[in-house]
């Protein structure tokens, strides 16, 4: 599957050639680019972007929760751009929220935070925001390659009563309309993000759960390995797009 001439490397060579021949439009396109001008303006203006309130909340939490005993905000720069990472302690991949939970529970000995709770989202959005503008450069740890391949298999597998795969919408039909919604390429470069439909900030796992429930499939449990594998594949698929956190989406 990872044969050098059919695997991601070939795709990257092809991508480089395509960029050389057709210009930069051939690379992955962020959901940002297909949004209305109003929404793009809302994302880009820190005073109008509702996600920025959560970033500020996260900055306060970062102090209050004692993260600064070990980390500075500056040291968080670039972290989100290379997650998920391989965690030696659990001998498996870990996403950003998982790392925050690990620091809190194992290093600080405190009670777990719910993944979609206000505090976890605020801490995650604050940390991820420190990478805003940096290109996604997926973790080069060779042990992540296996995880990415698992993620790709999940991305291509048809599921649910409607029997659709992620790829059938986001590769084959991106740019078309599913009823009123423009199908984006499905890149995860802006999470956690503010979604108008949610009227609030939400995680990537929430987004993936929505897509799964949309095809009448049983979503995975919060924090499940499957989500982290999907995230690892999505990061590779979006390689080079810049982190937008906190993005705004319809």
């Amino acid at each position: 599957m990872n044969h050098p001439w059919t695997g991601p490397r070939l795709a990257r060579v092809a991508l480089l050639l395509a960029v050389a021949v057709f210009g930069p439009a051939a690379g992955p396109r962020s959901g940002f680019e297909t949004m209305s001008p109003e929404l793009r303006a809302m994302q880009q203006d820190d005073l109008a972007n509702p996600g920025m309130l959560h970033v500020a909340e996260g900055e306060a939490q970062f102090q209050q929760q004692g993260c600064t005993a070990c980390h500075s905000a500056e040291a968080m720069q670039g972290v989100a751009a290379r997650y998920p990472a391989f965690d030696a302690a659990r001998d498996g991949p870990i996403d950003l929220a998982g790392r925050i939970a690990q620091c809190r529970e194992e290093r600080q000995g405190r009670a777990p935070l719910p993944r979609e709770g206000k505090e976890m989202l605020a801490l995650s959005v604050f940390v991820a925001h420190q990478s805003r503008g940096l290109p996604l450069t997926p973790n080069p740890d060779p042990r992540m390659e296996f995880v990415r391949r698992q993620g790709e298999a999940l991305f291509r597998e048809r599921r649910g009563q409607l029997n659709l795969s992620c790829g059938q919408c986001h590769d084959d039909n991106a740019g078309r309309r599913l009823a009123g919604s423009l199908i984006p390429e499905g890149h995860a470069n802006g999470y956690p993000l503010y979604r108008l439909e949610w009227q609030g900030l939400g995680s990537l796992q929430r987004r993936l759960r929505n897509c799964m429930v949309g095809v009448r499939s049983e979503p995975f449990a919060p924090g499940a390995a499957e989500y982290i594998a999907l995230e690892a594949f999505l990061a590779e698929r979006a390689r080079g797009l810049v982190v937008e956190t906190p993005a705004v989406r319809p």
Partner: protein
């Protein structure tokens, strides 16, 4: 006798049932219920975004409906292009015509993975609803 047979078949779930549906060429000529469907009910199902879901992917001659999808051909003229039996097979299990189709199989649970708890063992539409939709589609004559 015929009504009894239809009732007995309907007790089976869609997977078992769909396997017993007589496919002739690219069509299922006979009604799944042994009765003709009701086009008015069929129209309501097609327009219903929780039941038919058709407008997620298709557009059609429904000017009052906003937000129609463009992942699939327009339903306008479907009744001119296809016979009733061809439309029925397309609704029951389009994979028999195109294994890669993205159109859901509305009356088969075969080969599905990770179906949500609320939907397990159920087909998207019932036999009666399929007949209603087919009866409506044959009226779409451009």
């Amino acid at each position: 006798m015929r009504a009894f047979l239809a009732a007995a078949l309907l007790c089976l779930d869609g997977a078992a049932f769909a396997q017993n549906v007589p496919v002739v060429g690219d069509a299922i000529p006979a009604s799944l219920t042994g009765m003709p469907g009701d086009p008015a009910r069929g129209r309501a199902i097609v327009l219903d975004r929780q039941r038919g879901l058709c407008l997620l992917c298709h557009s059609g001659p429904f000017p009052e409906e906003r937000f129609q999808g463009d992942l699939a051909p327009s339903l306008a003229g479907a009744g001119t292009r296809w016979s009733e039996g061809q439309l029925r097979l397309r609704m029951v299990d389009g994979r028999r015509l195109n294994p890669d189709t993205i159109m859901p199989s509305y009356f088969s649970t075969e080969g599905l993975r990770r179906v949500g708890r609320a939907w397990q063992g159920r087909t998207v539409l019932t036999a009666e609803e399929i007949e209603d939709v087919v009866a409506f589609l044959v009226t779409l004559r451009d």
